[in-house]
């Protein structure tokens, strides 16, 4: 089977480096515009919640980061699997670049959840909330992945071993997700319902959707710039890179 030419190009570091350089500013620009619009809509246009007042507005950061935290792990695992199966170095580079971004968004989701928890539940941390527990475990998965990578000196080996961990992790993520949910429902403890009361109105929902799309673009932007850095690190001895540096120096 003959693969189209554009497919092969994604295995070439100089091509991907240049592509990331071209796309990065555009994607970043879209992210800035969308996040600015979503922030304006969320903080100014959306009405205050009848129950929680203005404190609900942290949802515009909290929900998008929680969503990115999960999506990033899936992308990480898919990239790692591609790298492992077809021995594509660039796919490994993508997986490596995602890990710290995903961990940061997970941390952001946890932190905003805790800040939100204070006025709503009266406590920063609720050990009985399944979603918080899940995010915490997801953060541990990211940190474990990064710790395993850091333990290997040989980059090639680190790539392949951590790819296996990434795939094992992503198989486990749904199991962990449902077990923490069932953990609470099996046990007739106090249940916390949030946002379950009145259905969310359009004025509140539209900025949230804009923020989610904006965060996705922001994630892509961060990923592209980290990927560029990762490529430079991996290819530091390559000729195309030296030529590029010489060119930019004039």
């Amino acid at each position: 089977m003959k693969l189209p030419r554009w497919f092969h190009r994604f295995g070439s570091p100089p091509y991907v480096y240049a592509l990331a350089g071209t796309l990065g500013p555009w994607i970043g620009g879209i992210a800035v515009v969308l996040i600015a619009a979503g922030t304006f809509g969320g903080l100014v246009l959306a009405p205050p919640d009848y129950l929680q007042g203005d404190s609900f507005r942290i949802i515009y950061i909290h929900v998008p980061s929680a969503y990115i935290s999960m999506m990033a792990y899936v992308i990480l695992a898919v990239a790692a699997a591609i790298g492992f199966i077809w021995r594509l170095k660039l796919a490994h580079a993508v997986a490596v670049s995602i890990a710290p971004i995903g961990a940061s968004f997970t941390f952001l989701a946890l932190a905003t959840g805790a800040i939100w928890g204070k006025p709503t539940w009266g406590t920063f941390w609720q050990w009985t909330d399944p979603r918080m527990m899940f995010e915490l475990l997801l953060l541990f998965l990211y940190l474990g992945y990064m710790a395993l990578r850091a333990a290997f000196e040989d980059r090639d080996k680190a790539d392949r071993v951590s790819a296996i961990l990434g795939v094992v992790g992503v198989v486990n993520v749904p199991i962990i997700h449902y077990s923490v949910i069932w953990w609470n429902s099996l046990h007739q403890g106090p249940t916390i319902s949030r946002l379950d009361g009145p259905t969310i109105t359009m004025d509140m929902l539209v900025p949230l959707l804009i923020m989610i799309v904006g965060f996705t673009f922001c994630f892509a932007w961060l990923l592209l710039s980290r990927l560029q850095g990762e490529i430079v690190e991996r290819e530091h001895a390559a000729r195309w890179l030296r030529e590029l540096v010489a060119e930019s120096r004039g």
Binding site: F140, G144, L148, V161, L165, S179, W183, L186
Partner: protein
């Protein structure tokens, strides 16, 4: 099947000759479980209510101690390389090694934990459930341990990292195991969490060895 039995028999024999390596984690479990009552304010009601969780977490931590030696010895003396080069299917070998590890580290826990549970005043009905839950949970634990041990086998000191890798993945087991024990203590039906534990075990045993074999291959490269 021959290969399975040969490898398992060999590993059991090795374990028998170095029995202290597998006795230490059990001792560790007993010590951790007995430190909790010392650390908490003395009161029977409190111990009874947290007993299940303490026992499960202590069992989980003690199993971390046992897993270092799972592949390390074979890796360092070169026998793992020989096994990989031999025509024996590597997946079978991995399953045999995991089974041997379960026999020497899982089964003693199934016996020991309910005994220690007696000292935490767990009601009699809960003890049988606790043993059943352990019987279903320890195979999963052995598979996850094997994944952790295989991922870190080529590192000089993998010990500190394995916990980071394995413990988050153990959380579903911990949840259903403690839930089953607690529900039995309250006289509720325990089928649901036990079925879930069984499902986890089947899932881990069928897919886990693939990951272990892949990780060992990378480690040997």
């Amino acid at each position: 099947m021959d290969i399975f039995l040969t490898i398992m028999g060999r590993d059991l024999k090795l374990a028998y000759r170095r029995w202290s390596e597998f006795a230490n984690p059990l001792l560790f479990f007993v010590i951790v479980a007995s430190l909790f009552p010392l650390a908490l304010s003395p009161g029977q009601a409190l111990l009874q209510s947290i007993g299940t969780g303490v026992l499960w977490v202590a069992a989980l931590l003690s199993s971390l101690l046992a897993l270092e030696g799972l592949f390390r010895g074979d890796f360092e003396d070169g026998s793992m390389e020989q096994i990989l080069l031999s025509p024996a299917p590597f997946g079978t070998v991995v399953i045999a090694k995991i089974a041997a590890h379960w026999i020497v580290s899982g089964i003693p826990l199934i016996v020991l934990v309910p005994v220690v549970a007696l000292s935490f005043q767990l009601p009699g009905e809960a003890l049988a459930t606790l043993a059943a839950a352990l019987l279903l949970a320890t195979p999963t634990l052995s598979v996850l341990s094997a994944i952790g041990a295989a991922l870190t086998v080529s590192l000089k000191s993998g010990g500190s990292i394995i916990g980071l890798l394995i413990l988050p993945l153990c959380s579903p087991m911990l949840i259903f195991g403690t839930r089953a024990t607690d529900m039995a203590a309250n006289g509720e039906p325990v089928a649901a969490p036990l079925y879930l534990l069984a499902a986890l075990a089947v899932f881990a045993i069928s897919l886990g060895p693939l990951a272990v074999a892949a990780a060992l291959r990378v480690g040997l490269e």
